[in-house]
Amino acid sequence: MDKSMLADMESLPEADRQRMSAMMEQLQIRDSLRMYNSLVERCFTDCVDTFKHKSLQKQEETCVRRCAEKFLKHSMRVGMRFAELNQGAATQD
């Protein structure tokens, strides 16, 4: 589908292309907010397990920092591999 889709896109007049890129921008905003939400959920679930205090304890905070940093590095690596595979699929067929 990729190529036909992109071909269609290039044949569109300027106004439509603006609309398209506005749409993509909206999707990206939504996606990064969702990513943020699910990162918080993951690190909270993995790092916070006792509820004797109302405030985050020192070792919980350390755990959350490492979790977030590790997840972001992981996510970037997946992104690179994913892009390579997408490119391979596009040139292949």
């Binding site: 909206q26 907010l33 943020y36 918080v40 916070v48 004797k52 405030s55 959350v64 920092r65």
Partner: protein, 83 residues
């Protein structure tokens, strides 16, 4: 995307951002609700009421979840949470 047409697109962007923000808040609330239910509430359902232990666990869980949200917001956005 700031230098297109002044009025019309800006309005659409305001609506779009407001919608995304609402969705974000709803999703955050749902995730807190589900996560803290899993962490605090006994799922054998022997009674209908939340007992004192569960209630205090819920309060602390929401508070800590909120702190994790700002902590990660700081890490991501170099100083300020996304919202």
């Amino acid at each position: 995307a700031a230098n297109i047409s002044p009025d019309v697109l800006d309005k659409e962007q305001i609506f779009g951002m407001a919608e995304k923000e609402m969705e974000y808040r709803v999703e955050l609330f749902n995730k807190i609700t589900h996560t803290c239910f899993n962490k605090c509430v006994d799922n054998r359902y022997k009674e209908t009421e939340l007992n004192m232990g569960e209630n205090s666990c819920i309060d602390r869980c929401v508070s800590k979840y909120w702190q994790v949200t700002s902590l990660i917001g700081q890490l991501l956005g170099s100083g300020k949470p996304p919202m």
